[in-house]
Symmetry: C2
Subunit: 164 residues, 2 copies
DNA sequence: CCCTTATTTTGAGTAATTCAAAACAACGGC
DNA sequence: GCCGTTGTTTTGAATTACTCAAAATAAGGG
């Protein structure tokens, strides 16, 4: 009944406990009230390996394991995950939508103005909205999203080298 | 040689001073090192009338005065303006790019999660970057962009009415 | 094991934006 | 005041990211 043929490198879990890593993913999908499917597992795994990925990037990663998967399936999986709160979707200006598993902790992002690399930045306040405008013009503020822009370490080095 | 036929409602400026409104726009375009053209004047005027407009919205507004104008011209004008620092381009998630004339004062925006309306929000600090992350992961931070999300006054009223 | 319902595939369509070549117009100099 | 250079706009097409819909398929409760 076990579906995996992967050679287990570490201690074999005998009795009732199933293979941990893969099932942790399955559990979180189930916990979100969604059916567990191969594309969903693959997308979630790919997202664990490469956070801040575009749908297209995840599609490429998923194809390695699951060649039959369609790009639309990846979009569908991501839409379902995001609606269920399993993933978060961010959309930095000039970029396609990016997805990440870190969710519910109201962290922010820093984007490289040169290469587009994205890193997480901790939110000092922690709770959303972490910032309140002085004058919200009558809006009922629900969230504050902060995007930092700057040069990533690699691009700083490259620029310094080029400018010499 | 005066190009305007608009009736002047307030005090007429006699001597050397030129017609203020129209020429103020032309001057700012010239000051940015760009040639003054009809499409550019029209776009800048439309942007003064309706800040936070999409290219398409500006295109519609410009067409009223200048029927021959193409959408690509509007995109071109906006690209030139933005490169020259005459306008700023913002891109809230889920929206097409929006443009505004307010520039260089590092203010922020609040977007209605229901209808998409955008309002300016003053930045308490004023200078960019107005916020520094605790741990910038080695990035050289250039700017911090804050987007608030919430319900605009009109949508609050509509929701309250509907829910009754 | 079957049935219901959610999910994925297949195929097509759309919105926003960009690219490129040719026609045109601003504006500094003559 | 006209002219040529150079920047701008038009015209026409392509591209990217994403969404929609119908038919095929598979998950998981009973």
């Amino acid at each position: 009944m076990t579906t995996t043929e992967l050679t287990q490198t570490s201690a074999e879990v005998s009795l009732s406990a199933p293979v941990p890593a893969a099932d942790a993913l399955a559990d979180s999908i189930r916990a979100a009230g969604l059916k567990v499917t191969a594309p969903r597992l693959a997308v979630l795994q790919a997202l664990a390996d490469a956070p801040h990925s575009t749908a297209d990037r995840l599609f490429t990663a998923v194809r390695a394991d699951l060649p039959g998967t369609s790009l639309q399936a990846v979009y569908g999986v991501l839409a379902a995950f995001t609606a269920a709160g399993l993933t978060r979707r961010i959309e930095p200006a000039g970029s396609a939508a990016l997805f990440e598993r870190r969710v519910g902790d109201n962290h922010h992002h820093i984007v490289c103005t040169r290469c587009g690399t994205v890193r997480d930045v901790e939110c000092a306040v922690g709770e959303a909205p972490c910032l309140m405008p002085d004058d919200a013009a009558g809006f009922a503020v629900q969230a504050a999203e902060v995007t930092y822009w700057g040069l990533c370490p690699a691009c700083q080095v490259e620029l310094a080298t080029t400018l010499t």
